[in-house]
Subunit: 198 residues, 2 copies
DNA sequence: GTATTTCTAGAACGATATTCTAGAATAGTT
DNA sequence: AACTATTCTAGAATATCGTTCTAGAAATAC
């Protein structure tokens, strides 16, 4: 027997799933409340009850997706036993995730830019910051041994994942000049060169 | 005496300037036609006459800004006499431009993502592609001498400017942990390591 | 001097995000 | 079991948005 809680979370998930496919098919700014309503069979009131407003729907989906992505990256880091495996694994795992979840990745890039989630800015920064702390913690031993170059914390974000993000945006935009598998190697190699002491 | 052409281009520029400041202050998706109208003192009809639709206004501004940015990068490349100076100059010049034009840079990042300029997608790709061809032409001699690593063309975009873009987004978002001058050195060094043959 | 093009103006229209009121279904309490 | 409170859904109503449309003014071309 379905409790109210069950049907409620089902509806919640249906709204988020409808939003993701709507964004994938028609783009973010054409994903209207009534479009979500049509695809999820939820009423306007139901959507606003669960998420507050349109931005709230996007934010909830945003966090859901990042939670999954970060879990993959975390697992990759944890099973790495050398600095090289860890750094290259981070890049490759991220790009593998993008290839496996193109709709989710596109959504992330569409939503993270701009002012769409401006009112959730602090919450998102905190959420991402917590994960970057984990990455920093993993790197610390290798920083001490001199295997990885010591930089201000903010710089690792740009140097480690900047190239992968730039490529992913391009790949998701339809410019798939090379398979993701080949791109992974090229980008991972470049990042590995960049992160070692000169 | 002001001709019709003069007042027309003045109005055009006023609309674009109003759009830029509106986006800087309130964000892209809150920059409405009536907001632009209010700041530029242009009528609805005038805006639509000059730019077709809201997307057209954004596209015109987008191209204007990139034209300026590319001009800086082109000048930087042309006066470089070594591979190292050229590559590092590209990164530093770009970040200098971002620091000098934060409103323009923010606009670029807000507008290039998502489906906002979807109907101008091909024109934008062609515009950017032409500049990347120039960069490739500059690199060619150094690729032949082995000073720069040989990669598929698409990879240079990700590896050369990916870190700078990632940092710029963060810096523009208000997380200015370090001065741009210091960031330039760190990122330029990293990119220079990444782009050399291993 | 007339015709044509360019440009501006603003009312009108359909669609949008959001709010609001009302009620149904479930959970909690005694 | 009965009553209350809470959660959830429903959909009409509202204000605002992007866009279209018609009309006319101003400059230019012939």
């Amino acid at each position: 027997m379905a409790t109210q809680q069950d049907t409620s979370t089902e509806r919640r998930q249906a709204i988020l799933a409808a939003t993701l496919t709507a964004v994938a098919e028609r783009g973010l700014h054409k994903t209207t409340i009534s479009e979500i309503q049509r695809r999820s069979a939820a009423s306007v009131g139901s959507i606003y009850h669960h998420f507050g407003d349109r931005e709230g729907v996007l934010y909830a989906l945003y966090i859901d997706i990042f939670t999954d992505c970060f879990a993959q990256l975390r697992a990759s880091l944890q099973q790495a036993t050398t600095a090289r495996d860890g750094i290259r694994g981070l890049v490759c795992t991220y790009l593998t995730w993008v290839e496996a979840h193109p709709e989710q990745a596109s959504f992330i890039y569409e939503a993270s830019q701009g002012d769409l989630l401006r009112s959730y800015r602090d919450a998102i920064l905190q959420f991402k910051g917590a994960f970057y702390q984990e990455v920093m913690a993993w790197m610390r031993p290798y920083l001490q041994t001199g295997e990885l170059i010591i930089l201000p914390p903010w710089a690792y974000d740009a140097i480690l994942l900047g190239p992968a993000h730039e490529f992913a945006r391009r790949w998701l935009g339809g410019l798939q000049e090379l398979t993701m598998a080949e791109a992974q190697i090229i980008i991972a190699d470049a990042v590995w060169r960049a992160i070692q002491p000169g």
